[in-house]
């Protein structure tokens, strides 16, 4: 009865059924999925600049400075401690490096390993960075240390968020 390429009654009902079913599934799931993936689509929050130390205290030798920042984590607000390696480079410019190793996130230390003086050394997997924060080729890290956003105001150093180079 049905000729070739002709939609049978059953096929037609099947298509309509899948269409209606798809509409219901989409109507139901669309808000929920958007709700679930919201963290990915949320814009990053700006972090306030906080005073860390007097500019006059900054030396050529990197110093580890701890400072507190207000962190908003969803509905939970807290104060967390962050730290930075602060020093003045050859051109007398202030550098503030994040101590978080770019390999797997351990904390790097300044010339803590006797074999590599004047380098940042990561104790976890032996990652190394030169004084300007650039990773030494052949060691685990694949990128230089993050640099803090900073500004100097009234003789004080203010740090913001660490940013990758």
């Amino acid at each position: 009865m049905a000729k070739k390429n002709e939609v049978t009654r059953r096929q037609f009902l099947n298509y309509t059924l899948t269409g209606v079913g798809g509409f219901m599934a989409a109507g139901m799931l669309m808000p929920m999925v958007r709700f679930a993936i919201d963290p990915v689509l949320k814009e990053g929050t700006e972090q306030e600049m906080v005073p860390v130390m007097d500019v006059s205290e900054i030396t050529k030798e990197p110093q580890r400075k701890k400072f507190k920042v207000d962190q908003v984590d969803g509905w939970y607000e807290s104060e967390v401690e962050q730290s930075a390696w602060v020093y003045k480079d050859e051109k007398d410019e202030i550098v503030a490096l994040s101590p978080v190793c770019k390999h797997l996130g351990c904390t790097v230390d300044w010339s803590s390993n006797a074999a590599y003086p004047d380098q940042f050394y990561c104790p976890c997997h032996g990652g190394r960075y030169t004084k300007d924060g650039v990773n030494v080729p052949g060691t685990p890290p694949l990128a230089p240390l993050d640099v803090y956003k900073m500004k100097v105001e009234k003789g004080k150093l203010y740090l913001g968020k660490p940013e990758p180079r």
Partner: protein, 256 residues
């Protein structure tokens, strides 16, 4: 289909080697007044579902679900209200023979009988007759139950003060400096009990909307406002009273 002896299986499993062809039953196999579940019946069911879903989503957009302020177990002035489908029970417990000495009747016996007979309906109404007109007792009881449930819910809705209900649960986003010296005095004295922890008011009125001057507030704190606010509610030094009044005026100013 081949059954029993001589049947072939896939490997050493119990899955028959002979496949049932994946062909739907012919429509001629639905004789008389029947139809296939998929796709005929389900299509109509899902169309109803789709229309319902649209209405449902519109409802959620038009009426955001309510959220009252965070639970405060110390707030003794709050009048609780259950969700609407428990209102009939709530209303029932207001009546004389379902409360007080008779509480058990209201909380256990009446609901117990109602829900118990609902559960056991097939045995309470065992006759073979299905038409409502042929089983007047069962249908009558059910109608009675439905009508009284609707009546009780209705009664509780119309006798309830919805404005007060909405107000007492409102989220107050008051800008109150809780570290201020004035607030320490406010919470140390009895003020906080009636005027709330953010001056938002509870049994007493909200202080956030006050237009009174510091002097007037000092007077009220000492002499009260009959009958609700007692005289001599404030028990502290004059200096503290001054600070308290100043704090209330400043807070009211900040929340304008």
């Amino acid at each position: 289909m081949h059954r029993g002896k001589g049947m072939k299986f896939v490997g050493d499993s119990r899955v028959p080697a002979q496949k049932k062809p994946n062909i739907p039953k012919d429509y001629s196999e639905y004789p008389g007044k029947t139809e296939a579940f998929w796709p005929n019946f389900l299509l109509k069911e899902w169309m109803v579902g789709a229309v319902f879903l649209i209405g449902y989503l519109l409802l959620t957009i038009a009426h955001p679900s309510p959220l009252e302020r965070v639970a405060d177990p110390t707030d003794a002035t709050y009048t609780p209200l259950p969700d609407w489908y428990f209102l009939f029970l709530y209303q029932l417990l207001k009546y004389k023979y379902a409360a007080g000495d008779y509480t058990l009747i209201g909380t256990m016996i009446i609901p117990g009988i109602a829900f118990g007979s609902l559960l056991l309906a097939p045995w309470l109404d065992p006759g073979p007759e299905r038409r409502p007109s042929k089983r007047p007792i069962a249908v009558g009881m059910m109608l009675l139950a439905v009508i009284s449930t609707i009546f009780l819910t209705w009664e509780s809705v119309v006798t309830h003060d919805w404005e007060k209900q909405a107000k007492q649960g409102e989220i107050v986003e008051a800008n109150v400096d809780k570290d201020a010296e004035g607030y320490q005095i406010y919470s140390g004295q009895s003020c906080i009990g009636c005027h709330g922890d953010s001056l938002q008011g509870a049994t007493g009125p909200s202080l956030l909307e006050t237009e009174k001057s510091a002097e007037e507030i000092m007077g009220i704190a000492k002499n009260g406002i009959p009958p609700a606010m007692p005289a001599n509610a404030f028990e502290g030094s004059d200096e503290e009273l001054q600070k308290l009044a100043q704090f209330i005026v400043e807070t009211a100013e900040a929340n304008k």
